[in-house]
């Protein structure tokens, strides 16, 4: 294989060559692997299973909410359904999904590295995740938990009769998986960049993962110690969060949200990174304002630590601190808006290719914007008191988490699927699924904004009859969404066997991952690349392509 430069847009790789998939065989070669690409596949399988599990709880809830009466589930069972939906989706799907699957696979390749700085710790992270998931599954099978995913005290410490200790222990362990992933990413980004790959030449996905890793590393331990105190309180009867003996339940809320607000950025920052990659690749342009997009990731990571108390506006904090937190929450929207404006500016006057990843990202930009702007509504003190604990809040965070993170994840998995598997998926079915996801999503969650504004509270299995029409719409949307999520499982699985061979660079994209064969060889590159160009140097590539006519 000849040495590679940026502007070789190669269409085919060496046929039948050895790659990370066929390099070794047998279950143990996967379960004991230190190859970041194989670990990414392990995550892909396990996180997909957790997504299906978390989704099934949502299906049960939406069916219950078809009618105003609580007829399908008892209120106790319904409490368990929304709790488990939240716990599984947040701790076992949204937090790890993009860093652990796409980040694991793509990050070292984008750096021109052979692996992470700590390959064994990378595998350990996966085992911690699996151990946590096993504890979580045990809790679900033996009766579940009913506290809500926030485990608010004193209900969780004194009154709930469900497996609070088990599930918080699972969250504690999953936290360590996340801390180790973040640590590994940071060291790798500092240490393993290919010669010539300076910070300002890094793809924006790398910047986004760097910012995410900082949040993982510094916020997660606070959750860990909070959950430890919660378990200890439930187990031994100490009173740190118990007002009856001088403790403070609001202290619990402060500590919980000190992690869980930044955790929102653990979920959305990698999604923004995927958006930057995909927008550049399918507009054939440099990202407008590269440095602004890069530093806005760090800005979000930093400001994200200063806004947690906006979850406590009605919990009895002082008006003055509420005012400050409202202001800071407005402020954190600025770097997010910078990103949206820069993506839009990149799209301006571009010849956009309507491939599936791009469809998802266009959806992402719109839905994330709606989710973000309604977040500003909620940061406003007056309106927050009106819509607190209503479906408005539910709709808001689903627009950010599902409309944002899940859409971007789907974009990313389609964008890098040819690289990961070496095969192309069926474009028709993929576009259809993207359309179904977009339509289904909006039909599910837009009515919930209205429901919330009209005053329907969250977390009840029965509701006033006048809310039924909007709830039926929401459930209908959820059915479409379910089909949209099921389709990729089918056609992506199908492509593994019957898909067209992808070649090195099916999108004609730039970036080091598109210079190695698909699937990549065990050590990613035949020879260490030397980088002499900026990220997203599409103009230069287009010029080179025009000269040689090799596309």
């Amino acid at each position: 294989m000849s040495s590679l430069t940026l502007h070789d847009v190669r269409i085919t790789g060496a046929e039948g060559s050895r790659n990370y998939i066929n390099d070794e065989y047998g279950a143990l070669s996967w379960l004991l692997t230190k190859d970041h690409k194989r670990i990414a596949i392990l995550y892909l399988i396990s996180i997909t299973i957790m997504f299906l599990l978390g989704g099934s709880f949502a299906v049960i809830m939406r069916v219950e909410l078809l009618t105003p009466e609580g007829d399908l589930l008892t209120s106790d069972t319904y409490n368990k359904m929304f709790t488990l939906h939240g716990i599984v989706m947040i701790f076992f799907f949204l937090i790890p999904v993009i860093p652990a699957i796409l980040g694991n696979f793509i990050l070292p390749i984008q750096l021109g590295a052979k692996d992470f700085a700590f390959p064994k710790i990378n595998l350990l992270s996966w085992y911690l995740y699996i151990f946590a998931a096993a504890v979580g599954l045990y809790v679900i099978i033996t009766g579940g938990v009913d506290t809500g995913w926030t485990f608010y005290t004193p209900f969780s410490t004194q009154y709930s009769n469900t497996h609070v200790i088990g599930v918080t222990f699972a969250g504690f362990i999953a936290g360590f998986s996340s801390i180790l992933t973040g640590l590994n990413f940071i060291v790798t980004i500092h240490r393993m960049r290919a010669p010539g790959l300076t910070w300002y030449r890094l793809p924006l996905f790398v910047w986004a993962l760097y910012a995410t890793s900082v949040v993982m590393l510094l916020a997660t331990p606070v959750l860990a110690i909070t959950l430890v105190m919660l378990m200890f309180e439930r187990f031994t009867g100490i009173g740190i969060f118990n007002p009856a003996i001088g403790g403070d339940p609001v202290l619990y809320q402060h500590m919980f949200w000190f992690y869980s607000h930044p955790a929102v950025y653990i979920m959305i920052l990698p999604a923004m990174g995927v958006a930057s990659e995909v927008v550049a690749a399918f507009t054939r342009k440099k990202i407008f304002g590269y440095r602004f997009v890069a530093f806005s990731s760090l800005g979000i990571a930093f400001l994200g630590f200063l806004v947690w108390a906006h979850h406590l506006f009605v919990a009895g904090i002082s008006v003055y601190s509420a005012l400050i937190f409202a202001f800071l929450s407005f402020f954190v929207a600025v770097p997010s808006a910078i990103k949206v404006f820069n993506w839009t500016a990149t799209l301006y006057k571009a010849s956009v290719s309507w491939a599936t990843p791009m469809l998802y990202i266009l959806g992402f930009i719109g839905l994330f914007t709606i989710g973000g702007v309604t977040g500003l509504f909620l940061a406003a003190l007056g309106l927050d008191i009106h819509v607190h604990d209503t479906y408005f809040v539910v709709a808001h965070f689903h627009y950010v988490m599902v409309g944002g993170t899940v859409m971007a994840y789907l974009a990313g998995i389609h964008y890098w699927w040819p690289k990961i598997t070496g095969r192309m998926y069926n474009e028709f079915w993929a576009r259809l699924a993207a359309l179904l996801v977009f339509v289904g999503f909006n039909l599910t969650f837009f009515p919930q904004f209205i429901l919330g504004y009209l005053g329907m509270p969250r977390r009840y299995h029965a509701y006033a009859p006048e809310f039924q029409v909007l709830n039926v719409m929401s459930t209908a949307g959820a059915s479409i969404l379910a089909v949209g999520y099921a389709l990729p499982l089918i056609y992506l699985g199908f492509s593994l066997r019957f898909g067209r061979k992808a070649g090195v660079n099916p999108w004609g994209a730039v970036g080091l991952e598109w210079t190695t064969s698909s699937p990549p060889p065990k050590h990613n590159f035949e020879e260490t690349p030397v980088v002499t160009w900026d990220a997203y140097d599409y103009p230069a590539m287009m010029k080179a392509v025009g000269e040689t006519q090799n596309v």
């Binding site: 052979k114 692996d115 700085a117 700590f118 390959p119 801390i179 640590l183 940071i186 060291v187 500092h190 240490r191 393993m192 590393l217 510094l218 916020a219 997660t220 331990p221 606070v222 860990a224 110690i225 909070t226 430890v228 105190m229 200890f232 031994t236 009867g237 100490i238 009173g239 740190i240 003996i245 001088g246 403790g247 403070d248 202290l251 402060h254 500590m255 000190f258 050590h523």
Partner: protein, 196 residues
């Protein structure tokens, strides 16, 4: 497969990968203990009455423990320095001293705990004892973690000295950084819990 800066430090920063890794890990630990210290401050400032540390806790024992830990931090540095000078058995002896100090700390801590239980002072007795037991308990677990690590390096792990000497010395240095941190946490715990 060759990972860059795995053993040799990067020339511009002077850090090898594990050293950068342990600093990041310690940053994470700072947040962990920082959350506990913040809880202590909030609980204490919100409480109508809060006992003075020296009225409830044994200051002399804790003072001895402070010196034991400080000495153990010195011992780790001595071990590391001796390994670097090529004096394997001396280095190993200093690791033994470190382990002895850690064990001594835990034994003294055990006496303190036993005495508290004897007086029927349990974690559930009051918020003062709740936070006292949580903080010193978590710190004690970190000491035990150090015992496991140094026990391994003094025992079966020491073989690496003869196969990959620089890597072994790095390991002692990284574990030493962790140990200094555990020591430092105690230096903060001692005045906040016992003296204020």
């Amino acid at each position: 497969m060759e990972i860059p800066y795995n053993v040799a430090p990067r020339p511009d920063t002077g850090l090898y990968n594990a050293k950068l890794g342990i600093w990041l890990f310690l940053a994470s630990e700072v947040m962990l203990f920082g959350a506990l210290f913040s809880s202590l401050i909030l609980l204490r400032s919100g409480a109508p009455s809060w006992p003075r540390g020296w009225e409830e806790l044994n200051v002399p024992l804790a003072t001895i423990n402070t010196f034991v830990l400080i000495f153990s931090s010195v011992a780790v540095v001595m071990a590391w320095a001796n390994f670097r000078l090529g004096q394997f058995s001396k280095g190993r002896i200093w690791l033994g001293v470190t382990l002895l100090c850690a064990a001594g700390f835990m034994v003294i801590k055990g006496f303190e705990y036993a005495h508290k239980f004897h007086l029927h002072h349990y974690p559930s007795t009051s918020n003062f004892f709740a936070i006292y037991f949580v903080m010193t308990g978590l710190h004690g677990l970190h000491v035990l973690g150090g015992v496991v690590v140094f026990g391994y390096f003094a025992g079966p792990g020491s073989k690496m000295y003869f196969s990959e000497r620089q890597r072994f010395i790095n390991r002692i240095e990284v574990a030493g950084l962790y140990w200094h941190f555990v020591d430092l946490v105690w230096i903060f715990l001692f005045p906040t819990l016992y003296l204020l």
